[in-house]
Amino acid sequence: MHVLLIEDDTEAASLLLRGLHASGYTVEHAADGREGLDKALQLPFDLIITDRMLPQLDGLTLIERLRARGSATPVLVLSALGSVDDRIRGLKAGGDDYLTKPFAFAELLARIEALLRRAPGAAQSTRLKVEDLEFDLLERRVTRGGRELDLTAREMKLLEFLMRRAGQLVTRTMLLEGVWDLHFDPQSNLIDVHISRLRQAIDRGSDHPLIHTVRGSGYVLRSDS
């Protein structure tokens, strides 16, 4: 996978470059907005990660120019500006996701993975299936091994979010944003409690637990243990 990282903070950039290399990505680096836009237009990338405040060309303007040239490459915006308005502006400009600094590297990796795997058309399917766990999206019915599970509307939304990203790391922040539409971090271990309730409903009495905790990062729903 080819990733373009546009970041003017050299130390932050080198740490990210090392981490991304270690995670198996081929990364190209640009140190300012103009260089970033040139590279983004010349080479085919699978993903662009750009800082919001850049010399030469501001990150949001860069995305707008990129989109104006017809590029559909997913863009992840990194920003030291964390207010709600900043986020909205970032997404309006054509960014696909927005991450406020400082962030955990695991959070970045999870979001990169989510953006890369976001297959167009996957949203169309009306039935999700992971091993013997099945979710009929039209009838809002969930079964495990043929047995119907009694879930609340919110638990279903949470499960749908996890199943759509089966096999991928999903962080607590991603769940708060995706399931509850909250773009700030409450202090409590809210998500853990909700996941453990869902886990009770889905994995209880089964030899094959599907929801796994990734220590210090988040959760993953997958068939193998």
Partner: protein
């Protein structure tokens, strides 16, 4: 708030103006009327007096027959000048003259008595008012001389009508002019008010319209526009300062995080104790980051910048969602958390900030209410606002500290987790939505009352 035309300073002034015009015109025309009337009467009195004198002279020279002759001579003039003559004896029996009977009941008491006289004119009967004077001649006979004053009466009547019509007309004109001016005034003030309200509602780029009339209103609008311009500039500068401060504080935190993260990803992996320490350090970074985010958010909310792009938020629905989100955590702590909310408690605002406000209030309860306690969120729709109350039966906050709730950067409770910032942020968000946050006693416990204009 709509400006009612009849409830403005301008229209009150126009009513006073109309009354003053009516009064002034009334005094002018009224005194002219009274003066003219008395002039006419004086003229009549003078003529009567002169006639009486000449007839008295005649009596002195040639007695009753002389006077009778003279009266008969003058009677002809009735048709022309409306003169009335009568000579009677001491018992009011007519000797001569053009009046058939003594018109008074005995001797009139006033100096200038008036009476009506009926005449037969060609084709019709007519009644004429007559003003007269009576003299007693030296031999005891009575001499009456009078003048038809119907002309004067008619003139006075016309004058009176003209006076009243003049007062009425000028009142009407003054009222129309006053109404027109107050309408124009109300319209222009209304424009200013509406524009100001839209600016307050977040359309910070809007300016007051200039009518192009170069009047004091345009001057006022231009001044207000300059003030708005400056405020917007200052907001921009402030925003830029926030942005660079946020950047300067977050960038080193990002590098710190990056270095710690890199250590965790190292191969071969670190020994368990080092790993633990790094994870603990990362938790401190998280804490620092959260405090920083809260402080920046408070500062931004307190800076007086308007809410960007407010949208309709159903506070009741939002409260229900957040209570549902927090309920399992509360249950795990042995607390009851529930929500009562009315339908469509809509506020114009920012959903994320309002969610943050609710979250902070609920988390505050989770932190301080001991197991077995209860936290309740209630949302009610009032006439012009939405009331949001988060109450608990925990230890509460001392009355002296409660009163400081509205002040920015005031911390409550124990300093430990720095939770005071949570309430400060909630208060700042309430103020940003032009609402208020107050702490009250729930007897026992804490009751946080937030009111947001709808």
């Amino acid at each position: 708030m709509r400006l009612e035309l009849f409830n403005t300073t301008a229209s009150r002034l126009s009513v006073v103006y109309t009354l003053l015009v009516t009064l002034a015109v009334g005094i002018t025309l009224g005194s002219a009327y009274l003066l003219t009337e008395s002039l006419i009467t004086d003229e009549v009195d003078l003529i009567i007096d002169t006639e009486l004198k000449s007839l008295e002279d005649k009596f002195a020279r040639s007695g009753v027959p002389g006077v009778t002759d003279e009266i008969n001579l003058r009677i002809d003039s009735w048709g022309r000048i409306g003169a009335v003559y009568m000579l009677t004896d001491a018992n009011f029996e007519r000797i001569s003259g053009n009046v058939a009977h003594w018109p008074f009941d005995g001797m009139p008491s006033e100096a200038w008595p008036e009476f009506d006289i009926a005449t037969i004119e060609p084709g019709r009967r007519a009644v004429h008012p007559v003003r007269a004077a009576v003299r007693t001649l030296p031999d005891g006979d009575l001499l009456l001389v009078g003048t038809d004053i119907s002309q004067g009466r008619r003139f006075a009547e016309k004058f009176r009508f003209a006076t009243l019509a003049g007062i009425g007309l000028s009142t009407l004109v003054a009222a129309i002019a006053g109404f027109w001016f107050s309408y124009r005034l109300a319209r222009r003030v209304g424009e200013v008010t509406r524009t100001c309200q839209r600016i307050l509602a977040g359309e910070s780029g809007r300016r007051l319209p200039l009518a192009g009339a170069n009047d004091e209103f345009d001057a006022l609008a231009a001044s207000v526009n300059r003030v708005l311009e400056r405020l917007e500039e200052q907001a921009g500068t402030l925003r830029a300062t926030f942005d660079s401060t946020a950047h300067d504080l977050r960038a080193p935190l990002q590098r710190l995080r990056g270095r710690l993260d890199a250590l965790l990803l190292r191969s071969p992996p670190l020994e368990a104790a080092a790993h633990e320490s790094i994870e603990a350090a990362l938790r401190e970074v998280d804490h620092l980051q959260r405090t920083l985010a809260t402080l920046l958010q408070i500062a931004l909310a307190e800076s007086g910048t308007a809410l960007a792009a407010p949208a309709a938020v159903d506070v009741g629905e939002l409260a229900a969602e957040l209570v549902e989100l927090f309920e399992p955590v509360a249950a795990a702590q042995g607390l009851t958390l529930d929500c009562r909310h009315e339908q469509a408690a809509i506020v114009q605002g920012n959903r994320q900030l309002l969610a943050q406000l609710l979250t902070n209030l609920i988390e505050n309860g989770l932190k301080y209410v001991p197991a077995g306690g209860r936290i309740e969120v209630a949302v009610r729709r009032l006439a012009d606002r939405v009331s949001l109350v988060v109450s608990d039966n925990g230890p509460g906050i001392a009355a002296a500290d409660r009163s400081r709730a509205g002040q920015p950067f005031v911390r409550f409770g124990s300093a430990g987790e720095g939770s005071g910032l949570g309430l400060s942020l909630a208060a700042a968000i309430a103020r940003l939505h032009r609402g208020r946050l107050a702490l009250e006693s729930n007897e026992p416990g804490l009751k946080v009352v937030v009111e947001l204009p709808s």
